[in-house]
């Protein structure tokens, strides 16, 4: 009876994950899909606590379990509610790391347990392999996510050690050798010590794997680590003969991989390219060193006049807008211009911000109407009959070098054709290159004017100026 109920709960849980994920990929049903998956998860968790039995014995320590659940729920909810919309990518990375750590801890305890039962690990090759792979993937996912979190949060800078790739591959080979050695018994050292060494190497690999990857590629890395954790969870499912862990884990592992590839496609880069990391990691000069060229500055008043007397303005938001928390002010500018009969649209590059869809989420938060946000393919033909393009803290996604300079590291990445417009106004804090570390020729073009300053500050002044003119 009980085991039947448990199976039923797991079945419902698994189906809710599949349907939830399916609904999440459609704008109209996304929120409901998330809710379905959450309900299925709750059911599976409660069923496990009360109905799970092994050899006729149910689970004990309910007080501890509920204690952990309550602490985790309170902290998780508070963190998720309080986080700024701009910090969303690092939050996802952080939560992902927690899942990875959870999988790793399970493996540690189960490994100890396995040794404790007196079994020789070589006599249980499947079980040992499952536990150890869960340990490796969970740990890599944990440390990797923490580094990704630190990078997006600005605590950690891109660093490339000498021979980084060689070291990384060496570590990976070492992990494999240790796995095979431990399972086959070829390495006869103390199993517990070996496990801790494996844990340490995996942790180190996770750190060194993410360390050299540039900020522009961080979304891809988070998505990849996300699917890693999925796989780690699936190994846990295999370990406990637990169908819901297996379905949930594999589903995320495979869906996460697809998502990772989709993101790579949006940037016109291959996954290997991202991992080997030639993008932001090695700050190469990037062929066109147009630096030292002349650029011209524009004042707030001139910008306001220019925009007021335009028919059509396109705003290109980038990470600078997110950092400055300027999405609300940006919406205000759009409203003022709209009241004065200027058509305003937003051009959203697939990788604007730090994650695909990041800018959409941010602007949606500021109540910007959905139909004003246009994808790159939709908006590119419109630049030719646009009077003013306002680039707000975006850089690499409008860099013409991606089209014209085969030596540039971003060559081949689809960009927004802002230079087709009559005027381009670029708001930036300084002339510093963007995240990919490449000089942007757009800034030195005759039709481009630079409006220096913090995005929010500049937009506030711009709105005030336009209001006073109207």
């Amino acid at each position: 009876m009980n085991s039947g109920l448990l199976s039923l709960s797991y079945l419902i849980g698994s189906v809710s994950f599949i349907i939830g994920l399916k609904m999440l990929s459609h704008p109209d049903t996304a929120r409901k899909g998330n809710l379905y998956a959450a309900v299925g998860m709750t059911l599976a968790i409660l069923a496990t606590i009360f109905l799970y039995t092994k050899d006729g014995v149910g689970l004990g320590n309910h007080l501890w379990i509920f204690g952990g659940l309550i602490i985790g729920s309170i902290v998780g909810t508070m963190a998720a509610k309080k986080v700024q919309m701009t910090a969303m990518p690092q939050m996802v990375s952080l939560f992902n790391g927690m899942g990875g750590a959870c999988a790793a801890i399970i493996s540690i305890v189960e490994f100890k347990h396995l040794l404790h039962t007196g079994a020789d690990i070589t006599s249980e090759p499947v079980l040992t392999t499952t536990i150890l792979i869960g340990l490796v993937i969970g740990t890599v996912s944990f440390t990797g996510s923490m580094i990704a979190f630190g990078k997006l949060n600005g605590n950690i800078n891109d660093k490339t050690l000498p021979l980084q790739q060689v070291v990384n591959i060496g570590l990976l080979v070492l992990i494999l050798i240790m796995l095979v050695g431990m399972v086959t018994g070829l390495i006869s050292a103390d199993a517990m010590t070996m496990m801790y060494i494996l844990l340490t190497i995996s942790a180190l690999y996770g750190i060194l794997f993410v360390m050299p990857i540039g900020g522009a590629d961080m979304p891809v890395v988070i998505s990849l680590l996300n699917s890693f954790t999925g796989v780690a969870a699936a190994f846990g499912g295999f370990l406990y003969d637990n169908s819901v862990m297996l379905t949930g884990g594999i589903l995320v592992g495979s869906a996460g991989t697809v998502l990772t590839v989709l993101m790579c496609n949006a940037m016109n880069r291959s996954l290997t390219n991202v991992i080997v990391g030639s993008f932001g990691g090695n700050k190469q000069a990037g062929g066109s060193s147009e630096s030292g060229g002349t650029y011209k500055e524009i004042s707030i008043t001139d910008t306001a006049v220019l925009m007021m007397y335009s028919k059509k303005v396109i705003i290109v938001p980038g990470y600078g807008l997110a950092v400055a928390q300027a999405q609300h002010t940006c919406h205000e500018l759009e409203k003022v211009l709209d009241q004065n009969g200027v058509e305003v649209k937003y051009a959203i590059h697939p990788v604007a911000g730090r994650m695909p869809g990041h800018m959409n989420v941010l602007l949606a938060e500021a109540d910007v109407s959905y139909d004003k946000l246009l994808d790159m393919d939709e908006i590119n033909p419109e630049f030719a009959h646009t009077d003013v393009v306002l680039v707000l803290g975006a850089n690499d996604v409008v860099n013409p070098a991606a089209k014209t300079d085969p030596a540039s590291p971003i060559y081949g990445m689809p960009i927004l054709d802002v230079e087709d417009a009559a005027h381009v106004i670029v708001n930036k804090r300084s002339m510093k290159p963007g995240y990919a570390g490449i000089e942007n020729g757009l800034f030195f073009q005759p039709k481009t004017s630079m409006l220096f300053g913090d995005a929010k500050d500049a937009l506030n002044k711009l709105v005030a100026e336009i209001k006073s003119m109207a």
Binding site: N34, A37, I49, A80, M88, G99
Partner: protein, 104 residues
């Protein structure tokens, strides 16, 4: 070869499920508008929090004098819950905004 086939027979149910889920995961995600990439990643992130069930099992099976298992299990439960609850709440917050713009 025989060993491999034996392994397949022994774990047939899981291997079966594994392959079906891989295909399903590909199919479910393959056509997604870029707008939803971030919420989708976040939602998937919450779903792999299902690893919490493993943590609960570890915790629930720990003998009351096995402090190491108890403490590690307890930490694992907290971390797993953070992944699940935080993941779903963050996803909901992102999607809530998409709903708002629909009313406009």
């Amino acid at each position: 070869m025989e060993q491999v086939l034996n392994l397949l027979t022994e774990h047939f149910y899981f291997i079966f499920l594994l392959i079906l889920m891989i295909i399903l995961g590909f199919e479910v995600i393959s056509r997604v508008p870029a707008v939803l990439h971030t919420p989708l990643m976040s939602g998937a992130n919450a779903i792999h929090g299902v690893v919490i069930i493993g943590a609960i099992i570890v915790m629930g099976q720990a003998e009351s004098d096995n402090y190491l298992a108890l403490i590690l299990g307890f930490i694992a439960v907290i971390l797993g819950t953070l992944n699940v609850v935080g993941g779903f709440v963050v996803t909901d917050r992102m999607l809530e905004m998409f709903k708002k713009r629909k009313k406009n």
